[in-house]
């Protein structure tokens, strides 16, 4: 039944070529280019308005075009996918295998959602930044990198193939580094950027290996230590739609699922490797450590990149590859389990943090865990919906924090806050709306998306872990979320003001900052109504909208409520569980209100919760220290060893050969000096010595000459006698 439905859905999809898709990412690229090269000049000559006009206009036009594309996709009769191929990017031939990857964009319904989130929230944050960053000197640099980020993220979501998506993946990593290190003159901020990039890179490595494995698995398998091609006609591919088609073909699918490498099924390995890359990009265990440090960047950056868009790339990737993940129970279990544990773990850390942005950072990690649970159990649309609602309220929270920080002249610690309700009213109300949404109070967008995930997690029969366990973990995490967010709200806006008199006097709100806040706050409340579940009387239009995209994956997945719908896996059960979750959330808020009605410093907190517990959680379970001691230090030791090896062995060998050459040439010189020169000198000396000896004949003594004459006469006589006679 389900099979036939999905089959018809998938077959109904048509592709349509359009000509404007490339503008969506390339306009921000143009803006980035202009600001990067001319930005300083523009800022100096014309003023800051010139810089942000360039930046905002490109994003705005891009957003309009994205909306148009969404409109086109949403309102067309048939299921349609907009595509545009720009050029043939990779054409590679090797031993009969031909790989062709075109540089092409595609907009399907999933992409629509992502486009909406990225361009709309991105634009709002750009507007906010014009207010927040107005005092910064390298104003142009900020907007240049922000536009570049928009470009990379849009390439990521618009990409037609894994390779193009990965290009965007790396690009957002780069922009993240650039923007975190915006205040690079301070060494710890620069180091935060480096940490983000390096940790990301570890994930990227796994992603690349997975990508390569998938590529090869598309055309052959490994048997007895060598690669065997499946058939001569099947060519490797990395394009999403082509892979999806092949997977849908039972003949291909059966062969594909049987492939193994090192005894592990290829499908599982590929999915887990991709997910490991996602733990880096989307800050899950074990590679989440960069996200709290990333708060060193300007607050709009934290809002855009580390809340709404970049960190969601991992979730998008799993959703995009739903047809692969659905085939591997193991992989799905890994995704869901890691997501759930991360959700709980990060939520606990949020309890005792004293920096506003750090609390929100851990909250982001926790909520991302929810999303991964969603896509991990097979509820892809639920995960994506939470992605969207989270973008609304998390961006709202971060921008609200930004408003506070700007008003208090960049003080971020909770000990400096309190009683800001009256001084920053709009900020307070929007912050309250977003807090309520994140806590999952009924009626807010967060409630609908979070509840959907909770229900689906309980209901699923696709993971090796029982749905019960997942649901329980998430429910507890929900309570914790409500708790620490309420704590944050209370300590920031309520109570007696703890900040400096002078600071409070100058604090105020700015329109440029408050307008985006209001928009996002409103969306946090009402944005969820697109996804009201059936149990509450709605149609869940969101899920319907995304159905065709996930159909190919869904056909392999089973949910208990759809199978038999008995016991707890029914409407009644859903309502019951919903009630429990909401109760837990309200309980959490109540407890927080009780404890934090008055300000409590970390020492006082420790008294309430217990010294040891507080110490461990306050220090983030010492994970960073652990990593440093067991990963970073050995690696640095290794590189030092390599450097020494290079210095003494390799350079030593080179120096040795140099020395040998020197010795040989010295020998050569010595031979020349002793033998060759010696011979010449010997001749000269000999001649001189001989001359000096012979010179003695000329004594100058006449008497001697006379004697010699006598000798001469004798000789003459003898000669005459002997010869002549």
């Amino acid at each position: 039944m389900l099979q036939e439905a999905t089959q018809s859905l998938v077959e109904g999809i048509q592709t349509r070529e359009v000509a404007y898709l490339y503008l969506i990412p390339f306009l921000p690229l143009l803006g980035a280019f202009i600001n990067a090269t001319l930005g300083a000049t523009l800022q100096r000559r014309l003023g800051r308005w010139a810089v942000h006009t360039v930046a905002l206009s490109v994003v705005f036009i891009s957003m309009c075009l994205a909306f148009y594309a969404i409109y086109e996709v949403a309102t067309s009769e048939e299921q349609v996918v907009l595509t545009q191929t720009l050029w043939q990017w990779i054409r590679f031939n090797w031993e009969g295998l031909r790989l062709q990857v075109p540089f092409a964009f595609a907009v399907d319904r999933l992409t629509c959602v992502m486009l909406f989130v990225v361009t709309f929230v991105g634009f709002l944050i750009h507007v906010f930044s014009t207010g927040y960053m107005q005092d910064e000197k390298p104003y142009w640099r900020f907007f240049a990198w922000m536009n570049l980020f928009m470009f990379s993220m849009l390439v990521l979501v618009l990409g037609d193939s894994i390779l193009l998506m990965f290009m965007g993946w790396e690009g957002v990593g780069l922009c993240s580094y650039l923007l975190i290190s915006y205040y690079y003159e301070e060494i710890d901020k620069a180091q935060a950027g480096m940490k983000a990039f390096v940790v990301n890179r570890i994930g990227d490595f796994a992603f690349i290996v997975g990508m390569a494995l998938l590529l090869w698995a598309m055309v052959g398998s490994w048997q007895d230590g060598s690669f065997v091609q499946d058939s001569d006609s099947l060519m490797p591919t990395l394009r999403f739609r082509e892979i999806e088609e092949r997977i849908l073909n039972p003949a291909f699918r059966n062969v594909f699922l049987a492939k193994e490498v090192f005894g592990v099924p290829v499908i599982t390995l590929v999915c887990i490797l991709f997910f490991f890359g996602a733990t880096g990009k989307s800050a899950q265990i074990p590679l989440y450590v960069w996200l709290p440090d990333a708060m060193a960047g300007p607050t709009p950056v934290s809002a855009l990149i580390h809340a709404a868009t970049m960190v969601t790339a991992g979730v998008y990737m799993v959703a995009r590859l739903n047809f692969l993940y659905a085939l591997s129970e193991t992989a799905m279990t890994v995704v869901a389990t890691v997501g759930a544990l991360t959700a709980l773990f990060a939520a606990t850390i949020g309890f005792f943090q004293t920096d506003i942005k750090k609390v929100l950072a851990y909250s982001t990690v926790s909520q991302l865990g929810y999303m991964f649970v969603g896509v991990g159990v097979g509820a892809f649309s639920a995960g994506i919906m939470h992605l969207m609602t989270h973008a609304f309220f998390k961006a709202c929270l971060f921008l609200g924090a930004g408003s506070i920080i700007y008003a208090l002249h960049h003080h971020q610690d909770l000990k400096d806050m309190g009683g800001l309700r009256r001084i920053l009213p709009l900020t307070f109300w929007t912050f309250l709306a977003a807090t309520v949404a994140i806590a999952g109070i009924p009626g807010t967008s967060g409630f609908f998306s979070k509840d959907e995930i909770l229900w689906r997690a309980f209901d699923n029969e696709n993971t090796l872990i029982s749905g019960w366990v997942l649901w329980a973990i998430l429910a507890v995490a929900a309570m914790f979320t409500a708790f620490y967010m309420t704590r944050l709200l209370l300590l920031t806006f309520f109570g007696e003001p703890r900040a400096d008199e002078h600071l409070l006097h100058h604090a105020g709100e700015y329109k440029r900052m408050t307008i985006p806040l209001v928009v996002l706050g409103a969306l946090s409340i009402v944005g969820g109504f697109v996804g009201v579940p059936q149990v509450l009387g709605g149609e869940n239009r969101f899920e319907h909208f995304l159905e065709p995209v996930f159909a190919s994956g869904r056909q392999f997945l089973r949910f208990a409520s759809e199978e038999h719908g008995s016991g707890l896996h029914s409407h009644g059960g859903e309502l019951l569980l919903m009630g429990i979750a909401v109760s837990l959330a309200i309980l959490g808020m109540f407890l927080a209100w009780k404890i934090y009605r008055v300000y409590r410093s970390p020492q006082e907190e420790a008294k309430v919760f217990g010294q040891r517990l507080h110490h461990v959680v306050y220090n983030k379970y010492f994970v960073d220290e652990f990593y440093f001691a067991y990963v970073v230090r050995p690696f640095m030791w290794f590189s030092r060893a390599c450097a020494l090896f290079d210095k003494y062995v390799i350079d030593g060998a080179v120096n040795l050969s140099a020395e040998v050459t020197k010795i040989l040439s010295w020998i050569d010189g010595a031979i020349d000096k002793v033998f060759v020169d010696g011979t010449v000198n010997l001749l000269a000396q000999g001649t001189i010595a001989l001359g000096q000896k012979v010179r003695k004949v000329q004594t100058g003594q006449i008497q001697f000459y006379v004697t010699v004459i006598g000798i001469g006469i004798i000789c003459l006589g003898v000669f005459i006698y002997v010869v002549a006679l």
Partner: protein, 103 residues
């Protein structure tokens, strides 16, 4: 014993000549050297006269001998004058000492 003939005189002349040569070669004193020269001259003279009387005949030999004697005397005068001049200049008559030309 053969009667004294030319050969005897020639032998005697030869002996005198060699004596004069030795004297010439070995004497340190300049005047001593001149003595040697005289001996040589006399030896030559003896030979000439002997040949003139016992060999060839004629008066030419005697004439030559007289010439030689006269010239020898003249030469001796000059030589001694030179020696005295040298003596006054170098304060020595050692033949070996008077040898600035060599070095």
């Amino acid at each position: 014993m053969t009667p004294v003939g030319l050969t005897h005189y020639l032998v005697l002349g030869a002996i005198l000549f060699v004596f004069g040569l030795i004297n010439l070669a070995t004497r340190k004193n300049a005047i001593g050297v001149l003595l040697g020269v005289e001996l040589i001259l006399n030896a030559a003279n003896l030979n000439i006269v002997a040949f003139s009387r016992l060999g060839v005949g004629g008066i030419e030999g005697n004439v030559f001998a007289v010439t030689v004697i006269a010239l020898a005397a003249a030469e001796t005068v000059v030589a001694l004058a030179i020696v005295l001049a040298i003596f006054h200049h170098y304060r020595t008559v050692d033949v070996g000492k008077v040898s600035t030309m060599r070095d």
